[in-house]
Amino acid sequence: MTTHFSFTDKNLLLRHGPTAVLQLAQRRGGQLHKLLSGTSIFEQDLMNPQSRCHHRDWLKLLSHCQQLQSPELPFLLADSVLNHRNIALCQSIAVAANLAQSLKQLCYFRHQLLPALYPKIKRIDNKLMLSFKPAIALGVQQHFISILAISFLVKLIRQQLADSSQLHVLLKQATPANEQLFKAHWQCQVSFNQQFDAILIPLAYWHQSFADSNPHRFQQYRQACYQLNQRLPAQRGLLEHLQRQIDRALPRQLGIEDAAALLGLSCSSLKRLLQQHNTNFAAIADEVRRDKAHLLLLQGNYSNRQLAEQLGYSDEHNFRRAFKRWTGMLPSSAKALTPISF
């Protein structure tokens, strides 16, 4: 069993999302055979609770559903998945003691629900920033899936803590025309054109006990999640795997040969795989350093020399040049801006 997955690994249970999105789309005028066309999913598969699909089909399905011009789809899908009675993971996070336990559980078993994204958590002042990055190339569906993940968490917090007004959602996408849709569904501050797809959760929420907290049922559902793990083992997306390795190696710069060796692949196989994701190794390494630079800037007052050292640049001039390439501005002017919107 390989430790990473790509587009054609069948690691997504249909009942963990695809079935729900199909039902929503059908009620919005989509025809099942058209929604499924071009995928390897058949109508009979939808009845079988063990059926799985791979990400190529999942992304295609989402693009078919989006042709229905229903911008509320990711919000509703998050709602349906969260409250789905047959998904042990969703049931378990709702009966956890508090948000900390709930998110820990979610992070541990996340490959069962949404393997296409991976979370990163960082503390910024009195908030925790949970940012999401694609674990495999998601193309145009990246916004949809990010909104889905964030919506899932916001809805969980609103259901269990009855308040989401202190949350702050950051989205990479440009301000959409239907901005009020985000505010109406999330009822919290939403900023667009950001460097991350992320949610800022105040520490005060972290240990507030959940409305439906039930330790006994939590254990039961957790057991069910472990059982599912035997059939759906924890695999990470190729990009996630690489980005984590590159990040871990910093300030040393990981070469493509080292990365390929860590994945158990030959250099040319890795290059070929990355080509399928429309990217290359240099671009991924650059992205990791850019994200890290942004995070460090958010977290504290580092000098350019310190930043350059942490990111593995030979001197601060090279770092300044790279930062200008990423953002169009110098690190000093980025620091002067408000903590969240660079």
Binding site: A20, Q23, L24, R27, R28, G29, L68, Q69, S70, E72, F75, L76, D79, S80, N83, K155, R158, Q159, A177, N178, Q180, L181, A184, H185
Partner: protein, 299 residues
């Protein structure tokens, strides 16, 4: 759509085959030198277009009287054009006139039937237009529709509101806005599932649109929030309308759900479309928090 028309789909093939058999028994095929390829090209294209019409009718029209006229009209045209094309390849003896009659007669009859069908379509469209008038005041664009409730979505609301504000201001008439919000809708969704929630929204939108005047516009604002634009209506009239609506909406509450609907009324005077909607949203928030009572008395 095509499942409604199985007979119509299966009919042309045997009909055209019968025509072909008849032509082959009556006439003799021409040698390639005798064939006028320009004629073949012209008549072939005419036949293909007629077949395209037939396919479009089958794939886009529901079964019914108007569809029958349109279909049989086009079918006669297809037959006529088909025989017309055949005689480019087959020569008939001069004394047998059957094929020439079969070729010329169906075309005018088909044309007449098609025209009659088109008149029926026109009438039907007029009725549908009238029915849609309340929803569709400004422009027709399917991308502006909310696919669930078939109401116009928020983009359309902005366009209509901006235009109406200008018109009403110029003519010094009053324009009112009604905003409906379903209380605890997410809890309802959680308890009964997304399908029940969607169903409720559809019923609510149908019930609301049945109460509108032709000049009013109902839009789905976001999620569980709807906006009704009342043209030429003062605040006082709008309040009466809102109370009427509230009473009417009690019909929606059935045994398992007892959802409450907040309605706020706002007369717009000076603001822009965006500001007006924001102000109304604030009013709705205040009403939900119990600071300002909604115009509707809780039933």
């Amino acid at each position: 759509m095509w499942r409604q028309h199985l007979l119509k789909i299966n009919l042309p093939l045997p009909l055209l085959s019968a025509g072909l058999m008849l032509a082959l028994t009556l006439g003799v095929t021409k040698s390639p030198a005798e064939i006028d390829w320009f004629d073949v090209l012209g008549e072939g294209i005419v036949l293909l277009v007629a077949i395209l019409w037939l396919t479009l009718i089958i794939s886009s029209r529901p079964a019914g009287r108007v569809t029958e006229w349109l279909y049989y009209g086009s079918l006669l045209l297809v037959c006529s054009f088909f025989l017309d094309l055949l005689d480019e390849f087959i020569r008939y003896p001069a004394h047998i006139r059957t094929m020439s009659w079969l070729e010329s007669l169906p075309a005018p009859i088909g044309m007449l039937a098609l025209t009659y069908g088109l008149i029926g379509w026109h009438r039907e469209q007029r009725v549908i237009n009238r029915q849609l008038q309340g929803r569709e005041l400004l422009l027709r664009d399917h991308r502006l529709l909310d696919p669930l409730t078939k109401l116009y979505a928020v983009d359309y609301l902005y366009a209509v509101l901006a235009r109406d504000l200008e018109l009403h201001r110029a003519e010094q008439r009053s324009l009112s806005l009604l905003m409906l919000n379903i209380r605890q809708f997410s809890a309802f969704n959680r308890q009964y599932g997304a399908a029940a929630g969607d169903d409720y929204l559809i019923k609510l939108s149908e019930l609301c649109s049945s109460q509108l005047r032709a000049s009013d516009v109902l839009c789905r604002y976001v999620g569980d929030r709807f906006v009704i634009l009342l043209a030429n209506t003062s605040l006082q009239q709008a309040k009466i309308f809102a109370q009427h609506m509230q009473q009417h909406l009690t019909k929606l509450n059935h045994h398992e759900s007892n959802l409450k609907i907040d309605i706020v009324v706002n007369e717009i005077t000076r603001l822009t479309a965006k500001q007006a909607l924001q102000e109304t949203e604030e009013m709705l928030k205040a009403s939900k928090a119990g600071i300002a009572p909604s115009v509707l008395l809780p039933s």
